[in-house]
């Protein structure tokens, strides 16, 4: 593969993540009733150690919602946020409650993540002209390190080098943050680029 072609593929992938993430940000903004900003999509290959040093420490407690693309070997979406931010998101999604129990926060976060995944997928489906369905989401609260390594391995990504694909969302300045990851199965990105004619 020539350098130009590799760059083209990288740009195409980043653009898909940008379009999907933009769609998801718009949905999130509608749900919580306030503006949501998004960083330039992060598309990079990093080792586990680099991820823990530059993205998030392995011992950070996060809430993670996972949803699998069904009907084929594609991969999973993963939305991760700090438990405190999850509570703030639940308050915005379900205002006026007297008690935000962890159960309520988790339900709200699952619902919100589901809508993020669906809107991201909607945008990708329009690009590739192929239906894609995400499973009902599952949630866990655990260490970033445990979650990340387990999800990559579950998707048959056994290398020590991880292909990290993510969008970061912000609201109220940087007071509320969340990250939407897509973890592909080994051949998914090739298939996607092929569908795009690249």
């Amino acid at each position: 593969m020539t350098k130009d072609h590799a760059l083209l593929r990288y740009d195409a992938l980043q653009e898909v993540v940008n379009i999907g993430g933009g769609h998801a940000a718009t949905s999130l903004s509608k749900m919580i009733g306030r503006p949501v900003d998004m960083d330039v999509p992060f598309v990079e290959v990093l080792s586990y150690e680099e991820v823990y040093q530059t993205i998030q420490a392995d011992d950070t407690i996060v809430k993670a919602v996972l949803s699998e693309l069904i009907g084929g070997k594609y991969g999973v979406f993963l939305f991760m946020t700090d438990p405190k931010d999850a509570e703030k998101l639940a308050q915005m999604l379900l205002p006026g409650q007297t008690d935000y129990s962890e159960e309520l926060v988790d339900s709200a976060l699952k619902e919100l993540s589901n809508i993020l995944f669906q809107s991201f997928l909607q945008a990708v489906m329009e690009l590739i002209g192929k239906p894609l369905i995400a499973s009902l989401p599952v949630l866990t609260t655990d260490l970033f390190g445990s979650i990340l390594s387990s999800v990559y391995m579950q998707q048959e990504q056994f290398s020590e080098e991880l292909f990290i694909i993510k969008n970061n969302f912000y609201s109220e300045g940087h007071k509320i943050e969340g990250s939407l990851y897509f973890v592909p199965k080994p051949d998914t990105l090739e298939q996607l680029l092929h569908q795009l004619g690249i």
Binding site: Y48, E68, G145, S150, M153, E160
Partner: protein
């Protein structure tokens, strides 16, 4: 005062008391603590995968249970001159269990089984374990006593 020596994913470390060994964020991975009691020297290994046979690149051998354990046990035995080692393990969770997934595909379960099989082949008796379930774990190994503390989020610490 000893140092805390951290073991990353697909890695291992050997050190002696008063140092401690630790590894953070074992999801489906398994942590194996090995201990030579007379010299109070221990190893901690953080394996990712059960079996290296289907991989062409085996250069990062500490990643695979079948390659890591024999090599680490050999190194620890040679370094200490002790043949009899104590062993405790933790990890091997299924963090996200989808109903579509059969247990054969669950890497956590396969890691646990592979570690037990290799320990058996190496003539080592597994003394204590805290494995499976849906929660991640971190391991802290005290090399003075060989107490292994297993920490989890929103759960009581468990001592092996």
């Amino acid at each position: 005062m000893g140092e805390q020596i951290k073991v990353g994913i697909s890695d291992y470390k050997i050190t002696s008391a008063p140092n401690q060994l630790l590894t953070i964020g074992l999801g489906s991975c398994v942590g194996i603590a090995l201990y030579a009691p007379k010299s109070k020297t221990g190893a901690l290994s953080h394996i990712m995968l059960p079996d290296s046979t289907s991989f062409t690149d085996k250069s990062n051998w500490p990643k695979f249970a079948d390659l890591a354990l024999p090599a680490i046990v050999k190194e620890l035995r040679e370094q200490t001159g002790e043949h009899k080692l104590r062993v405790k393990i933790a990890g091997g969770a299924s963090m996200f269990a989808f109903s579509t997934e059969s247990s054969i595909l669950q890497i956590g379960q396969r890691n646990i089984q592979a570690v037990k099989d290799v320990l058996y082949e190496l003539d080592l008796k597994l003394e204590a374990e805290h494995v499976g379930g849906k929660m991640g774990r971190s391991m802290f190994v005290d090399l003075t006593t060989f107490d292994v503390r297993v920490r989890m989020v929103n759960r009581e610490e468990h001592i092996l």
